[in-house]
Symmetry: C2
Subunit: 413 residues, 2 copies
């Protein structure tokens, strides 16, 4: 699975798709949608096609992978840059979170799904833009440093945080609802969420002394081990104390560790095995858990969901950009540039599946939605960012200009 | 668990024990022997003290950790140095493998356990010396570069390989035995072992091209991912094709990857998360799986096993060293220096427990044996390596002289 994920990622790169796209797609092909490898005799002893003894292990590793991934995302969140982002980017991000949220919930209700909590959860899956995909395409187009480009990047970063906040609220409210959804239950959940965030952020003052102490222990990899302990404790506390998702805790832990002097050491230590083992297994497991064959009865829902994901994000971001001072042309570019969804949407969908908030059918539709939005974003962006406007000012990155019509796109490496 | 392992390792270092010692001991204290943390309400929902939902996950992670650990051991096996090791070291290692093997099996039989395969397996657990513990103590004594010191180190390295070979033979024979133990079954197993090793070593010629190809894929951590694929494929093939233990395959994969130009990159990438997460969980899980309370009826057996482990290793190594040219005094030193057991013994014992070759009682006795041999080695070595002989020639490493009588030993860092 690791091999197929990496090779598929490389193939996707060759055809100018992000490697995430290839990794999810190959997972989908290996899963019950097409090959159902986990049912092969070599994996299922005794030829029992239903028993898939590997799946629980892969699911566990993928879950740890998700925590590691969100921790790294937190580590790499640049709080300083976020504060510097202009109000256009902030409100674009806001519009691009609110409208897909409402659109997703409305779509679910229109197709007969209950608003609480399946509908609202589907809305939450549609919120977060993928920073990496937008950045990659902007780089290939040569528009990374344009006002639209930097607005898209800034908005995509804020968007991740907003996505996490939306997820936290939805999970907390769903928890309150399972406890009766009266004012008392709501009050208790609100209190728990507050306690988690206040205590979690207040505890950050002990991070630097703790990591410094670990660095002097003299045992192997003590700083990284301490960071992992922080990651797992915050993840645990997010669920058990804060009644929000564990990934919220992992992300918060990453953001807080990034403020210490050990950020580089932790980042460098956690990257290799995370990106060589856990993350490929996570993307493959997404495909393994999805089942395209179940989409038959949900074909219409899936198509509408993809359309809503594309249109709501583009309009939500675009209109807000227009309202806060961008020209119509630039606003359309910002809206289009924010369409792609990625890891965070899948992580949210995986959380919903694991906790019974959505079924396999909705999960599979979400996977298709992520693949489709990722696929349409680069060509749509090339349409609204005309080459002649953006080749004139090459910037310091290894940016290549757009190729001639009909020529293969050069790689950015 | 990661936190307790690392802190216990650091405490062990302070009192001049290897950190492994602290990590196993804390696992034993956290396990059913004393605290039984996995039965605590916070881990066992509903207060069910028997249900320990974390244990399968920890066991899975520990198993992956064992494969990673053996892979790293293989990576760091210096084939060039092994070929240069003198015949004294080679035959000392041989004696130190053969005698504990026989002694362990005889002890088992004396206590009413069947020779096949429990007795022979107990023998196999006693074979491998821990390189790291011997090296650490030699360094503290200042005798690392003495003839005895380099013989101990050389023998300890060869010893690991012999331990792996013994384990492979025992597992293969046990597999043949479960298939009826006739000549046909034996022949098939012999053929499978041969095919695995011949094909595995022959396939090594494709390693460099494959890793080079991976390094040009352009996706994140592709070389490390390829090395992991090699590791897991060899581990799988060891069991399913070679009818030997998966750890044999992991070790072989490490030795073969070490011959390529990517050794450093793989080693550097695999170290951080392995030593911060997987290895501490492995050592803790050893303690969690053991149960000191079961040792009551096996108290006599455990004591005798520890004595046999100490005496058989010392005599086996010492007599062979004497036979191949060392003085009696030097031979005693070599024998004493080889007593400590470590990771490999525990990995072998864990394999036996997981595959039903030994019960929890024998497993717990083996854990006590590893702890006891580790604990007695440093003081015994200080007894036979008198300080006045070894302080005169400090070598280039950060070696500290032996302390004054009654003074605390200084750390080597």
């Amino acid at each position: 699975m690791i091999a197929s994920a990496k090779v598929a990622g490389a193939v996707a790169n060759r055809i100018h798709q992000p490697s995430v796209f290839g990794e999810i797609l190959i997972g989908l092909l290996l899963g019950p949608t097409l090959l159902n490898v986990l049912g092969w005799p070599v994996f299922a002893p005794g030829g029992d096609r239903e028993a898939a003894p590997l799946l629980p292990l892969i699911r566990d590793l993928a879950q740890i992978g998700v925590l590691l991934l969100m921790f790294v995302a937190g580590l790499e969140t640049d709080l300083v840059q976020m504060r510097r982002v202009g109000k256009v980017a902030f409100w674009s991000a806001f519009g691009g979170v609110a409208l897909p949220m409402i659109g997703g919930a409305a779509t679910a209700v229109a197709f007969g799904l209950p608003l609480y909590w399946q509908g609202i959860f589907i809305g939450a899956i549609l919120t977060a833009t993928s920073v990496s995909i937008s950045a990659q395409t902007l780089m290939e187009i040569g528009a990374l440093k344009s006002p639209e480009g930097s607005t898209i990047l800034g908005a995509a970063v804020i968007d991740d945080v907003m996505g996490i906040i939306v997820l936290s609220l939805v999970v907390a409210l769903a928890n309150a609802s399972s406890a009766g959804m009266n004012w008392l239950a709501l009050g208790i959940v609100a209190l728990r969420v507050t306690i988690f965030f206040v205590a979690g952020i207040a505890a950050a003052r002990f991070l630097t002394p703790m990591l410094r102490w670990a660095s002097q222990l003299g045992v192997s990899q003590a700083v990284l081990a301490a960071a992992l302990v922080v990651l797992f404790v915050y993840s645990w506390a997010a669920e058990y104390i804060g009644s929000v998702a564990a990934i919220t805790g992992a992300y918060l832990a990453g953001v807080l560790v990034a403020q210490t002097e050990f950020k580089r050491e932790v980042d460098a230590g956690i990257h290799p095995l995370t990106y060589s083992m856990f993350v490929p297994l996570f993307f493959i497991s997404i495909g393994l858990q999805a089942n395209g064959r179940e989409l038959g009865p949900r074909a219409m829902f899936t198509i509408v969901l993809v359309l809503v994901a594309v249109v709501a994000k583009a309009i939500g971001c675009g209109v807000c950009a227009r309202l806060f001072g961008f020209s119509t042309k630039a606003s359309v570019r910002v809206g289009i540039g924010m369409i792609s969804r990625g890891e965070v949407g899948l992580i949210v969908a995986g959380y919903g599946l694991a906790n019974g908030l959505i079924g396999t059918d909705v999960f599979s539709a979400s996977v298709v939605m992520v693949l489709a939005t990722t696929m349409v974003t680069p060509p749509l962006m090339r349409l609204v960012f005309p080459p002649h406007e953006f080749t004139v000012t090459p910037v310091e990155e290894t940016i290549v200009g757009p190729p001639e019509e009909g020529e293969p796109y050069p790689t950015t490496r």
